[in-house]
Amino acid sequence: MARMKFLCDSERCIECNGCVTACKNEHEVPWGVNRRRVVTLDDGVPGERSISVACMHCTDAPCAAVCPVDCFYTTDDGIVLHDKDLCIGCGYCFYACPFGAPQYPQKEAFGVRGKMDKCTFCAGGPQGKDNSEEERKKYGRNRIAEGKLPLCAEMCSTKALLAGDGDMVADIYRERVLKRSGRPQTWGWETAYQEDV
């Protein structure tokens, strides 16, 4: 069993934001908090490409490294999660993250900056039983516990966004690259996972 990974195939991403709303739908994250976003380069001119970005669940997660209260933990297949009860909303993880993944809800306990919220790979968090009300309220739905994968990828309109066992993700992607006879453009993969596809 390899690690769980995200990969966004920029040749297929059409910036439709299906992943973004799928995430909103599944976890009912509040207005202004975006666990996932689509970033577009060269908007409106030839060469325009988009990729969907969220927490990449890094192999050696910088957020965890800088967290002053050590609220991060990693599942044995590499999903990076955190404990919102421990989080103090300091924002260090945001500066450490190469993908801008951590989000901070406004107008909560800490005034301008609430406890950090980020993509959980649809795997919830530590509090309560899996898919308990408490877990849902704090982290959203726990699909992994139900044997399902992140909804953003499962609902991707063109199957650009892949999520799952890294080996299987890489297999699908390599097959596509071969078919297109292009070179791989695995945005973010190496940074997050410190390895080739």
Binding site: I14, N25, M155, S157
Partner: protein, 960 residues
């Protein structure tokens, strides 16, 4: 966890931008910046708690109750994506990907991924309301039906049935669409229409008049097999995102993608070749491509000889379009045109895709026919991977068109001739004379002999405002329109905003039947005579829906109608009862309480829709497909084994004969490599057997297994007898079929027998390139009414004005001869965004979507912006030459060419810079509001169908 919206100003769209970096990053970042402070305007709804049957996922999940899975289809576009809903205790708690669906394989775009928000429905109209003294008041359903009904009957008495306009919707299910047309017929008017008029009417007319049926010939899935994909005026990445899954698979299989569009769209971003043309020059571009094809003899001569009529006339016109002329008119460099021609020739089969960019022009029918002709010349029709893949817009605009929610036809394109009425009266089992008596008995059209109103086209949705405002004596009906039913319609999707406002204020009665208040509720300044009736969404009822590829899918009811809303067919029944024709209306349809049984409506449809083969898709067969989606091949759509073995998914029409005949549906139209019984077809012989001495029947070409190995006309009882096939009919069939034809034989016997002999019921004809009954028999270029190229007006002039066209005077030349290009130097064009749909009321009320697009904007090229001294993100006034103006944010981008301004048309809730927030009933205002693009759009209607021109007008931009 509840949806948490930011409290605050309550004006989602008025917050000034602040503190962003000087340069634009991308459209999304741009919009986020400009509107982030906004948040949702969470206005307290102020309802008693028990009224609020609002979904709260977390609470419901915590409650006991098993999760029930319900299957539906997304209500946003025509791809037909399967939606899987998890329901607990009647609350829609979860949405799962529908991996089994061969259409979307689980995928959704932003809109599809957000449909569960329907179960929240915070911004819905919650109960019937009317305006009293300028204030919205709650009323009961009974009071609403009685008051509205009495007023409508009074208008009918005074001004005739044509003074009440029944504007329907592509959001209806098939059954509701059919029911609505039947309803209008029994009310006694042809003043009934819907959005297809302003969406693909020019496609339907152009394509049907070319080869028989005016629908997408192949399917989205079939594009896996395309070696070339030519998109013109279609931005699938935003309008049909899940279609791109199939397009990109086709591309990965080696298909070449060409995108022609005035904008460098997100679809263009994935193209192998992008061609930027000047808006409104589609015919010249297509003729420019054909010029190279003819010049090099690249056309498919054998295909043309056997299956195409009139290509020589096209050649004569095309000869005028040399590369130099094409470049001058379209702005496309000659080598690009040649490259496109070469790609299409060298990569076959190739498909051609078009959408609103091609259809919404005053020469829309010319455009659509030119596209067809290009495909005919290449021999690309009737083959897998080829075809004219016309992507329809709304989820059921194909079905609503098929069922004739149109002012020029009864269901099934039967038209309005007496024979058509008699056919449907037989199906309805009502007396023809009674239906006739429901109509105005006058006659207002016809040169030699007066034509009864019943047989004349009604006023179109695109022109209803003229039906209200035009002087009575200029309209070819008894009186002007006095009452409008806007039943699932966004008025901001229509041009001429200021005049529309006036028309809404002139009406005596305006009834809005919709889940949301829509722009109609807030646009007019009127204190009374306006009603809101809450309609249920398609997730709150069941029924069938037809995707763009002609496949039917059954939707299960996910949740009960929210609040006091009712399904459309129930509301229709209530009005039928009030008007006194409920008995005839539902003669063979079971009514439970006041809800007609949807399955029974479909069975009645099956008994009457012979023309386009809506007869084989019984509720039982559709439900079987629903349960066995996973057995269908994702490329061919054919079931491989299982209970649906051999069927094509959704029984794409024509699905001939009775359900018992088990026709599998027709996956690719006009595909002769299959027998008709297996879904094959030749071209339809719909235009007679000869024209000016030349045969219109196919020449030695026929579908597989045909016993007639040549062209043949459409089948009648007499022809069946002549062929000696009559005794193949059963005795009962003979009785029903005697004197009838394949379209009117209610037993289906004629269809069954001719298919048994390998023939197509509609004959085997040639596709025609010359539509002699249209204003331009061979498509020609005509400059837009509002064109910046005054130097071309003389050579490519528009039509003469017409006195009576669809009951109304219609202007062409008198507009074009005025030169507006000095004061209004920029071309204005419009289109879609992925997050919103149609007029956008529903999607802008969905916080998950609204957050992603918070501002109405206009794309302006940096050159124009700099010339005008306008900076990215600032408010500007965009004014059209008829005086309509809108206040929007400037988005400076190279996506548009210099001289072209693009606006998305989904916004509403503002009028000419004014936020109409306080005119909404409490708690129903969408999160995002903005000026409607169409407020600034202008006059201009297609010369055949009355399609509105929204892809080319002029404008000027000034800093606000």
């Amino acid at each position: 966890m509840k949806l948490v919206k930011k409290t605050g100003s309550g004006s989602a769209a008025t917050q000034p931008s602040s503190g962003f970096l000087g340069r634009s990053i991308d459209r999304r970042a741009f919009l986020k910046r400009t509107g982030l402070a906004a948040g949702g305007a969470a206005v307290a709804i102020g309802l008693p708690a028990k009224m609020m049957r609002r979904a709260d996922a977390a609470d419901a999940a915590a409650a006991d109750g098993d999760t029930v899975i319900k299957k539906s289809v997304c209500t946003h576009c025509s791809v037909g994506c399967g939606v899987i809903a998890e329901v607990q205790n009647g609350v829609w708690t979860g949405q799962e990907p529908d991996f089994d669906s061969p259409f979307n394989l689980g995928a959704h775009c932003a809109k599809g991924a957000s449909v569960r928000e329907h179960g929240h429905g915070e911004k819905r109209v919650k109960y019937p309301m009317k305006k009293v003294g300028g204030k919205w008041e709650r009323i009961s359903w009974d009071q609403a039906i009685n008051e509205i009904g009495d007023k409508a009957l009074e208008i009918r008495e005074r001004a005739g049935p044509d003074s009440v306009y029944w504007l329907g919707s592509a959001k209806f299910s098939n059954e509701q669409s059919y029911f609505y047309r039947k309803f209008a017929a029994m009310w006694g008017t042809n003043n009934v229409d819907h959005q297809a008029r302003i969406c693909h009417s020019t496609t339907v007319a152009g394509v049907a008049n070319t080869w028989g049926y005016g629908a997408m010939t192949n399917s989205y899935n079939d594009m896996h097999l395309s070696k070339a994909m030519f998109f013109i005026g279609s931005n699938a990445a935003e309008a049909h995102p899940v279609a791109m899954q199939h397009v990109l698979r086709g591309k990965e299989n080696g298909g070449k993608l060409i995108v022609c569009d005035p904008r460098f769209t997100r679809t263009a971003a994935h193209a192998d070749q992008y061609i930027r043309l000047r808006p409104g020059t589609d015919v010249p571009l297509i003729w420019g491509i054909l010029w190279h094809i003819f010049e090099n003899n690249w056309q498919d001569d054998e295909f043309i000889r056997q299956r195409v009529f009139g290509m020589e006339d096209v050649r004569k016109e095309v000869a005028n379009w040399t590369p130099e002329v094409v470049e001058n008119v379209t702005g496309v460099p000659g080598d690009q045109v040649k490259q496109a021609a070469q790609t299409m020739v060298e990569n076959k089969p190739g498909t051609l895709v078009w959408c609103m960019g091609g259809t919404q022009h005053h020469v829309g029918n010319n455009n659509t026919r030119a596209y067809c002709i290009l495909q005919l010349a290449l021999g690309n029709i009737g083959v897998a991977g080829g075809g004219a893949n016309i992507f329809r817009g709304h989820d059921n605009v194909q079905g609503a068109t098929d069922f004739g929610v149109l002012s020029d036809s009864l269901p099934g394109y039967y038209g309005l001739a007496e024979g058509s009425w008699k056919h449907w009266c037989r199906v309805w089992d009502v007396d023809f004379e009674w239906v006739k008596s429901r109509f105005d008995q006058g006659a207002y059209e016809g040169k030699d002999a007066p034509i009864p109103v019943m047989n004349t086209n009604g006023i179109t949705v695109s022109r209803w405002i003229d039906g209200v405002l035009e002087a009575k004596e200029n309209i070819a009906q008894k009186d002007t329109i006095k009452a409008m039913f806007m039943w699932g319609h966004a008025p901001n999707s229509q041009t001429r905003g200021p005049e529309m406002k006036k028309a809404m204020e002139t009406l005596e009665l305006l009834v809005i039947v919709d889940p949301y208040p829509t722009h109609s509720a807030v646009l007019p300044d009127r204190d009374d005579g306006i009603y809101l009736l809450p309609a249920a969404t398609q997730y709150e009822t069941c029924g069938s829906v037809t995707a763009s590829n002609r496949s039917l899918q059954w939707r299960e009811k996910i949740i009960e109608p929210l609040f006091e809303s009712l399904p459309d067919h129930t509301i229709m029944y209530k009005f039928a009862k009030k008007f006194g024709f409920a008995e005839q209306f539902t003669k063979h349809i079971q009514v439970n309480g006041e809800e007609p049984l949807v399955e029974d409506i479909l069975r009645e449809i099956n008994r009457g829709m012979w023309t386009i083969g809506y007869t084989g898709q019984s509720p039982e067969r559709l439900k079987l497909h629903l349960e066995n989606k996973h057995t269908f091949n994702t490329t061919t759509l054919k079931a491989e084994g299982g209970p649906c073995d051999g069927d094509y998914y959704g029984l794409p029409w024509p699905c001939w004969g009775t359900p018992e005949m088990k026709h599998p549906g027709s996956p690719n139209l006009y595909d002769q490599s299959k027998t008709v019984a297996e879904g094959g077809l030749p071209f339809r012989a719909n235009f007679g057997v000869e024209y000016k001495g030349q045969s219109l029947l196919s020449d030695g070409s026929y579908s597989k297994g045909s016993e007639i190995q040549d062209g043949y006309p459409e089948f009648t009882a007499d022809l069946v007898k002549q062929l000696g096939w009559w005794n193949d009919l059963t005795e009962d069939e003979k009785k029903a079929a005697e004197g009838k034809n394949w379209k009117t034989d209610l037993s289906g016997g004629i269809q069954r027998v001719v298919i048994k002999h390998g023939c197509a019921p509609f004959g085997n004809g040639k596709a025609r390139c010359v539509v002699w009954n249209f204003p331009d028999p061979v498509p020609i270029h005509r400059e837009p009414l509002y064109t910046p190229r005054r130097d071309l007006v003389e050579k490519y002039a528009t039509y003469e004005d017409r006195k009576t066209f669809w009951r109304l005077p219609t202007r062409y030349k008198s507009i074009q001869e005025q030169d507006f290009s000095g004061d209004y130097p920029l071309i204005h064009t419009s289109g879609r965004l992925v997050e919103y749909e149609g007029g956008g009321e529903e999607t802008r009320s969905n916080p998950w979507l609204a957050e992603l697009q918070q501002h109405m904007f206009a794309e302006i090229n940096p050159k124009n912006a700099n010339d005008l001294g306008i900076k990215d993100g600032q408010y500007v006034w965009l004014e059209g030459p008829e005086g309509g103006k809108i206040k929007v944010k400037a988005m400076v981008t190279r996506r548009v060419a210099p001289g072209v301004v693009f606006t998305p048309y989904h916004f509403g809730g503002w009028f000419q810079g004014q936020d109409l927030l306080d005119k909404y009933p409490e708690g129903t205002a969408p999160y995002v509001r903005g000026d409607a693009a169409n407020t600034a759009f202008t006059y201009g209607y297609d010369s055949v169908t009355m399609m509105q021109e929204t892809k080319v007008s002029l404008c000027k931009i000034t800093a606000a």
